[in-house]
Amino acid sequence: MVSEPRSAAANRSVEVLASKLRRRQIVGSRATALETLLVLRQVIAKARFSNLEQLVAIIRDVGRRLVDAQPKEHSVGNTVRKVLHHIREEFHAATRGVEVPKPASFSISKFVLQGQPRKQVAVQKSEAKGTLRENDPDDPDSFARGLKPVLMEAIQDVLDELETVYDNVSKNAKDHIHSDNLGYSHDYASEIILTLGMSKTVEQFLKAAAHVRNYSVIVAETAPSYNGREMAKSLSSSGISTFLVPDSSIFALMSRVNKVILGAHVILANGGMFAVSGSLMAATAARAHSTPVVVCAGQFKLTPLWNLYHEYGALDFGNPSDVLGFENGDLVDKVDVVNPYYDYVQPELIDAYITNELLKETYDDEDNEL
């Protein structure tokens, strides 16, 4: 059977990405999702297959290798799942025509309980392709030839979605942030948002809201990366009144904060999330003050996986020299220094997720385990 990707070039690109993931040369859910997608496109372009199972097996194999390289980057697996989903969609469309669309109402809980509705759009484009035969004895490549162009289109759609994810998440930003435009007194009355670290999604969300709302943002620096500085610079440069504070002051300032807006690394099927360390404390402090916690994340961060022991699963360590560098040489020898990457934030601490197009794009149940 032809189950392995034949092309050495495609194989090499998988290896390159896997080692980059392993070495953390690529980090962040969106960057890894994009890279995965580009690799998958290359793999599909080069792959030889004569039926659906072969193609799925090829993609799954690539997906497994990438996921094993860095299991904490869930968006890699999500991207593979999404591509697999598209492959089946296109296949069904090409062979059996349009499926009956299921009702469109959807929620995270249904996502967990029932799987997902079939996609109803993006089907039209493949209709014209005519007959597509699996395992054609005369021309084994005819199946691939027929399916590849629509798959490329589908992957382009996913790429476009990743490109536009910020716009779509930000679309409703103004509905979540309010301000009081009573002129002179607005300084006191306007909303104060707390965020931490550097999340592109949150950044775009806040900037989108700033077009129509007048508010202040408190950014926690988020040691040891101190990414909050970058965020604060970016927000202030687009005219948002911004305060950069150390992580230690989150609790003290929380009584003046109206809303906490966080980014996510991955959103799990139980409604919890992994996020940059510091998020759990900010969310807990917010809960202590009854301040709403809103999480902004693209749909590609939603994963169908979860388990009961995420507190332990969250542990993933970064470079200790960011915490205690060698300029403290005498200390470095004597103490353990830890620098965990992520926190697991329980679903009960999060009030809402703001995401893009949850309805449209999902995965197939059978791909949960790649």
Binding site: P224, T242, S248, S249, A252, P340
Partner: protein
């Protein structure tokens, strides 16, 4: 109760000579006059860009005073007003003297309050110190002021001991004017010194309590006593205060808290507290086998100092070091959280280094006991329910010294704020270790009474 004249924020209480209402009224009048003068000057110079900023600052300081005033009992003069008057003077001084005096961190343009900053305006603002030495300030006090403002002397105990030691010098160098007596006049001599220290950094609760005690002693001096004898006895009283309320108290706390450390414990502490440091070193001395997790955070990163002292001995304590966001990952293995305090309010709330509240909160959600080490002289009569109502900002010049990567410089729309304290609600605290025993936070208010009242 030893009638606290200024009920709410005692840290500032000593800033005004309570026994001298006339003098106080005069200084207030002076200040008002000064503000009026400045405002008039500003009106005259409306065209210039920095001027409207200052005037808005002035206006807004008035606003803060009224809002703050509602929360307080009838205070003769609100401390924030005083602080702001000082601030305005300070900023004025800095604009004019910036070039001549190249003080560290003062090379930026005078602080302009963006409108969003107003919500933080009641925090103690970092002030340029050393520019304004007014009146008869003792050199020891000027030196101490600089050490305070540079955070070279930092921590409630250290600041209080340093202040009392400097006061002994001031008292020794003091001579009573011919027309007055020491018990009446010494305090008027000390109050500008205190004012100078407060202008360097807002007063700590410990300093306020010690000054109140000192005033009591001064007013109790018999007028028939020879001046030198009176000074000697005052210095002795100061020495006793330091010994009884701080040194011995710490020793008792060491013993009491040490009993709570068992073999195999993992103790988590935050930043650096001198008492906690002593407790841990003492327990190590006794041969207990335990390890310590030191959690640290900006603005001051004091945990490194603690780490150094815990690991420098001949038999170092096994330590783990991490920054505050790492806390939830480490908390699962912790058996006890041990932290120090800046002050303890009578509702049981602990006012301590910023970040302590989050440590206690996370420990509480993980069912880890939180033990606070705090001498009784840090107790305050007031009630505080929110860390936002009163705080202090660490000047950028100090935070920059502590960080490898460069802090961002305040720019348009962008401010870097470093609150120094936060307030841990009593619900997060399991017990407070004092020299009179381990008590739950709910019983804090009964301690002054149990101590026979006179000492707070």
């Amino acid at each position: 109760m030893p009638v606290p004249i200024i009920a709410d924020p005692p840290p500032f209480a000593g800033g005004k000579p309570q026994g001298q209402p006339a003098q106080q009224a005069m200084t207030r009048a002076e200040r008002r006059e000064l503000q009026e003068k400045q405002r008039a000057a500003k009106a005259a110079l409306k065209g210039q860009p920095p001027q409207p900023k200052e005037s808005s600052q002035g206006k807004q300081s008035q606003g803060t005073v009224t809002t703050a005033g509602q929360a307080k009992a009838k205070t003769p003069s609100t401390p924030s007003k005083k602080a702001f008057a000082g601030d305005i003077q300070g900023s004025k001084a800095s604009t004019s003297k910036d070039l001549s005096l190249g003080l560290v961190g003062e090379d930026m343009p005078p602080k302009q309050l963006s409108h969003g900053l107003r919500i933080f305006s009641h925090f103690g603002q970092p002030k340029p110190v050393g520019h304004t030495v007014k009146g008869d300030i003792h050199p020891a006090i000027i030196r101490l002021g600089l050490l305070y403002s540079d955070f070279k002397i930092c921590g409630a105990n250290a600041r209080c001991i340093a202040m009392l030691t400097a006061f002994k010098q001031v008292i020794q160098d003091y001579t009573t004017p011919s027309h007055s007596t020491i018990s009446r006049h010494l305090m008027t001599h000390l109050s500008p010194q205190i004012t100078h220290l407060v202008s360097a950094r807002p007063m700590s609760v410990t300093m306020g309590n010690a000054i109140r005690e000192l005033k009591l002693e001064i007013s109790a001096i018999d007028i028939d006593v020879i001046e030198q004898d009176a000074k000697e006895s005052l210095c002795l009283k100061i020495d006793n205060y330091i010994r009884d309320r701080i040194i011995i108290a710490d020793e008792v706390i060491q013993e009491l808290a040490g009993k709570k450390i068992k073999d195999g414990d993992v103790i988590l502490t935050y930043a650096k507290s001198s008492v906690v440091e002593k407790v841990l070193l003492e327990a190590q001395e006794e041969g207990k086998k335990f390890s310590v997790i030191v959690i640290d955070s900006k603005p001051l990163l004091e945990g490194k100092i603690l780490l150094r002292s815990l690991t420098s001995g001949p038999n170092p304590i096994p330590c783990t070091y991490a920054l505050l966001p790492a806390l939830p990952s480490l908390l699962t293995q912790v058996t006890m959280v041990l932290v120090g305090a800046h002050a303890l309010f009578s509702n049981g709330a602990v006012y301590s280094r910023a970040g302590t509240a989050m440590i206690a909160m996370m420990a509480k959600t993980n069912s880890v006991p939180v033990v606070v080490c705090c001498e009784t002289y840090k107790f305050s009569d007031g009630v505080m329910v929110d860390g936002f109502t009163r705080n202090e900002l660490v000047p950028l010049s100090v935070t920059q010294k502590n960080s490898r990567s460069h802090d961002i410089v305040p720019a348009l729309n962008l401010d870097n704020l470093n609150p120094l304290y936060d307030l841990t609600p009593p619900t997060y605290i399991t017990a407070v270790v004092t020299e009179v025993g381990l008590i739950p936070p709910s019983s804090i208010s009964s301690i002054p009474l149990a101590l026979g009242k006179a000492s707070l």
